[in-house]
Amino acid sequence: MLQEISNTMHKKPKLRLVALLTAPILWLVVAYLGALATLLVAAFFTIDSFTGNVIQTFNLGNFHDMFTDAAYKNVVLRTVGIALLVTVVCTVLAIPMAFYMAKIAKPRSQKILVALILTPLWASYLVKIYAWRTMLEPGNGVLDWLLGPLGFSSPGFGGPAIIIGLSYLWLPYMILPIYAGLERLPNNLLDASGDLGAHNWHTFRRIVLPLIFPSLVAGSMFTFSLSLGDYITATIIGGKLQMLGNVVYQNFSINLPFAATIATIPVTIMAIYLWMVRRTGALASL
């Protein structure tokens, strides 16, 4: 019986393909895209101001409110700026770390280092952000306590704190793909470049960077998008600042259509981002 199925499958690659694709496509298209589409359609609805129930008539009022109020432009720019900065910070921190791990560390310490990078992923998100509250507390936080004697003082709560916090949370997600990408990179390539007289930096910029670019993109998928949708970090260490996620979260239960309207912004931004990434061909080599 199994043999038969196997043979039929082998003879008919189309059938194999269908068998492979059906479940995942159903899942992603029906369960996920379906849900997403329903939400986005709700952006054109409105709510009954008396009962708070959704009224399903086509209406552009929410979009009008969103585009005319400067506050929403502010929060979009702020959020995208933070997400970009977090991605830059993570990239800058991750590349040397991953490089050392993949190309310099001995196999034994390599393992320990990978374990050290993975460990913080298991400590709760919330606990880590609260730890940053203790770290950043102006005047009597850990940072001032440790680095105060060196003349450094904590930036306090606000935009810089959000960037630090989010970079902290997503750093491992950047290190891991870069590390994997570097490990795949044959050592003799670097040697060859060195033999041809290229400097370290030159080798890195001309050989290593282009080859690990897809890994960088893979990492940025996490750092950029996870930052774009975050609302908890901003609540805990953002001082007065809010991010897009806060606005969506705030409106979700009382005014789902308006929350959906706001949600179209990150969806659009990510769609553009994915499209750009796809044009560079990086997505295919994810």
Binding site: L20, P120, E137, V142, G194, S225, Y249
Partner: protein, 268 residues
Amino acid sequence: MTISRNARLILAALLGVGLAFIYVPLTVVVINSFNSSRTFSWPPSELTTKWWAKAIENTGVREALKWSILAGLSATAIALLLGTALAFAVSRYDFFGREVISLLVVLPISLPGVVTGIALNNAFTKQLGMSTGLLTVVIGHATFCIVVVYNNAVARLRRMGTSLQEASMDLGANGITTFRLITLPNMASALFAGGLLAFGLSFDEIVVTTFTAGPGIQTLPIWIYNNLFRPNQAPIVNVVAATLVFLSIVPIYLSQRLSSDSSTGGRF
């Protein structure tokens, strides 16, 4: 390898800075679990083990841990099945819409969790009239976990090429045997790495979970969310987090053991 001594030293220093960045806050978590102040004031005026004693008595957290592991394992299992199938389809076949699939699969992780969360919540409860519960949490988690399995599997399949499989088939093995004896063992470490990352993502996920968990389902992050903001309970949350950091050695050790057994060497 021809990396100059200076470059090595600089890289080592940068690695040290990075590790300090990662570990100083974690150390603060561990110290705070002994901090007698309920609001984690720094430096601790007094150290105490009473939060640890209280955490041991706390049955809510054990219950939550159980739910988290259950949801994480279920979501990981689904993600492994769907992600691997998709990876095979994309890397071994050429078909219309192949490009779109690689976009589709990254979508759930690349769209903000709050959007995914409210979209699923809206679909489950309002459109389908479903009850939220373990099932909806698992569906939500699996959706964004597929991509990590998929990425790992695709990378490995690309590296493996098809020559081994062809050789096996030429020697008379059928598709299933080839898959079992050649393809799967060669993919094991990649799948394990993907699975572990998927489990990790699910285990610490809070946003999508907030919107998809029903009555009686309290995963560990939800438990933490419910308890962290109450000064009576907050120190216990630090104990839990500190414990998790130490416990994380188990899955990481396992993954490294497993991946070192495979011929290709471990990635994560």
